[in-house]
Amino acid sequence: MPRRASWPLRAAGMAVAALALLPAVYLAVRAAEADAEAWALLFRARTLALLGSTLGLALAVTVCSAGLSLPLAWLTTRTDLPGRRVWTALLCLPLALPTFVSGYVLLAAFGTGGALEGPLARLGVPVPPVYGFPGALFALTLSTYPYFFLALRAGLLAQDPALLESARSLGFSPVRAFWRVTVPLLRPAFASGALLVGLYVLSDFGAVALVQYDAFSRIIYMQYEGAYDRSYAALLGLALVVVTVAVLVLEVWVRGRAGYHRSAKGASRRGAPVLLGRWRLPCLGLCGGVVALGVGLPVGILVYWAARGWGAGEGPVLGAAVNSVLASGLAAVLSVVAALPLALLGVRHPGRGALMLERSAYVGYALPPIVLALSLVFFGIHAVPFLYGTLVMLLLAYLVRFLPQAVGALRTALLQVSPHLAEAAATLGHTPPSVFARVTVPLMTPGWLAGAALVFLTAMKELPATLLLAPIGFETLATRVWSATAEGRFAQAAPSALVLMAVSALGVGLLLSQEEGARPG
């Protein structure tokens, strides 16, 4: 039986969960104002059809992202692939690219008359489809696979190599051992990645709109865009909340209650890397191909835009870059700290209450970001007016938005840290806080880093909350890119977008370079 959690932990968990539920509360307040006509609109067949097509897309993107990320995560953690750290930072980068930019990039590259359409056709290479379902699948898989990639990496790094070695000593072939031992142990990582990718697809508007795929978020966005009708929009938002809760319940049901930590004596250590041998070249090809499409292509198009409108270019972007790093960095730290009580409760004290607290972090995640931003406007101006318009307000918005990314990563890491280690330390006379700080926290390192990297990257590109809640005049790289593309000035957008990607790469590189050194043993 799990022990009951201490009261400070429960209080912290409840406080964070309350914050995470703000968007849902806001939607309920606004939906209460809806008239009969709005309810009738909600239940028409088209709403359901859109929901169906969006869920289908979410499922397809989740499966493709997982399939793409597993080999990439394995190659960068378990093998002697040359340049593993560089590959890792590059493979994460698509997360930092605002989806409205990646949509434009895709069209500019592969659309009719696009930069690559002609050359590819001449070479006889089929041009990837850019419109409708295939286009949306392609664009979203390319921009979301890093969620899986980072989660799976953290899972692989935290896994005890002794388990794999035991399997090999029992006569399993390497391939069989991989499928029978390594992959099943990654179940929590898959679950956390799937939640992030699947729910993200529900919320996405930018990419889906550009590739002309009919998605549910579009009709919500529309209500704000054109109709200024907050109550109908709120009803649609609540429908997404209901779907999210259903997905969360389903996920709990699928993942079961298995334990994932090692129970053997002795310390965990690093396993010997798998030598790729003659597979080295094809493996490099895979990484290179994904990086070429997810990073090389956007950078290429951005450079092309910048060159096309040479002279229309931008002045210095240093101030915006500093602001971006400051806000995203603080958001990353804040998110992993706030996620900790939820992950601890969910993993160490499982039970209905803890589970609900942990899951509440995800409730707002599938909502279009504008809804989330407005809920914080609502909360800020009415509840904490003295914070309204300050950086604190923006960080709160980032926290609510990105909390699930941190919770998932910490959860995955914590599941693989044996509680017995903490108990052993306690018997050696350490107090619980000291045990926590000296044993549990260091062992969770892959989770901390993956969570912080995810939040940092996605906060770098965040737009609606940044526009509405940042202190006035607080310009970030993402707002600069937005302000240039809004009127179709792509040449002006390009330099800021390139700096955004470069700074993100540096940030993630720096974070993940801690991985190896911090690893115990």
């Binding site: 054109g226 200024y228 009127e487």
Partner: protein
């Protein structure tokens, strides 16, 4: 008498300026386009301007959430419908009559709750390599002809397109608007996110014609060079497809700095600012006496339908129609 009065007025004015040293503006118009104007205003009057830039509809939603507690003094919007929605929500305070009357009655609120700053005409942009100007219809009705199958681009989720459909409804009735939407839909138009994406696609030759606002073409040419094979086609005067919508400004009811706020709006209606709109953004200046960019036909020749732009706020019916026809 005047010896006493003048210093007194001067004192009152300076104290008013002191009390209102900082204005907060929510700007649904881009920093690159209007930022220099706010700076010029500060240089001229000494009144600081803090600007929150954002997308017009999202700022409207924000202002509605903030209500009476809003820190904003002035709202600068990209279209009249947004201002109409705020007026309807009773969040705006009236402007001095003399101020709004500088602008033609078609381009301001009848209750003086907002005033237009610049005009933006609907046009049909076309790819010059694939379409000759004489092949283009003189009215939007022409685009329901089968000859245009697979050649049209539109942005039904975009505010400016919806404002146009609202105008169509107001002018010709819902049934006619529905017929037009269905007619174009039968021609399998490509759906884009916004005007900029349509002009970009026209440049690549992905589509032959697109329903957009007139000035995106000039932004695209600044971006991609004059050789871009895209041009604007103005439909016949009085056609709903020539609707001139406006960007405009209003003072929030919650503002305690109405005087300074009105000063800013007066500045935006002044010659310098109006010329800026004409030359930098290729929009139509709305105050008589300032000429439009030379590449454009005169505003009087565009022949925008006579319509109370405040009514463009009524988008519920338009959205319902777009949903009924399956366009959305």
């Amino acid at each position: 008498m005047s010896r006493l009065l003048l210093p007194l007025i001067a004192l009152l004015l300076t104290s008013a300026v002191h009390a209102a040293e900082t204005l907060t503006v929510y700007s649904g118009r881009n920093e690159r386009l209007v930022g220099p104007l706010y700076k010029a205003f500060t240089a001229k009057t000494g009144i600081e301007v803090k600007v929150r830039y954002g997308e017009t509809p999202q700022l409207v939603a924000t202002l509605m959430e903030e209500g009476a507690k809003s820190p904003a003094d002035v709202f600068v919007a990209q279209d009249a419908g947004a201002l109409g929605a705020l007026a309807k929500a009773q969040l705006l305070q009236p402007l001095p009559k003399a101020q709004v009357e500088k602008v033609d009655a078609r381009f301001r609120s009848p209750e003086a709750l907002w005033v237009g700053l610049s005009g933006r005409a609907r046009v049909v942009a076309y790819n010059t390599a694939k379409v000759k100007p004489e092949q283009l219809p003189t009215g939007i009705q022409g685009f329901t002809e089968p000859a245009w199958k697979g050649r049209i681009g539109w942005a039904p989720t975009n505010g400016s397109f919806q404002a146009f459909v609202t105008a169509l409804r107001l002018m010709k009735g819902d049934a006619a608007a529905k017929k037009w939407l269905e007619g174009v839909k039968a021609n399998a138009p490509r759906t884009y996110k916004n005007n900029a994406a349509i002009v970009e696609a026209l440049g690549r030759g992905e589509i032959d014609v697109g329903f957009v606002n007139h000035y995106y073409l000039y932004a695209a040419k600044k971006d991609q060079g004059e050789a871009l094979p895209v041009a604007n086609h103005f439909l016949a005067a009085g056609d709903p497809g020539t609707l001139v919508n406006v960007s405009g400004a209003a003072v929030l009811k919650s503002s305690k700095k109405a005087e300074a706020a009105q000063q800013l709006i007066a500045f935006l209606l002044d010659t310098q600012a109006q010329q800026h709109f004409a030359q930098e953004t290729f929009e139509y200046p709305l105050v008589p006496g300032v000429a439009a960019a030379s590449a454009l036909p005169a505003l009087s020749k565009v022949g925008s339908p006579d319509l109370d732009l405040s009514k463009l706020e009524d988008l519920k019916g338009t959205l319902r129609l777009l949903q009924e026809t399956g366009v959305l």
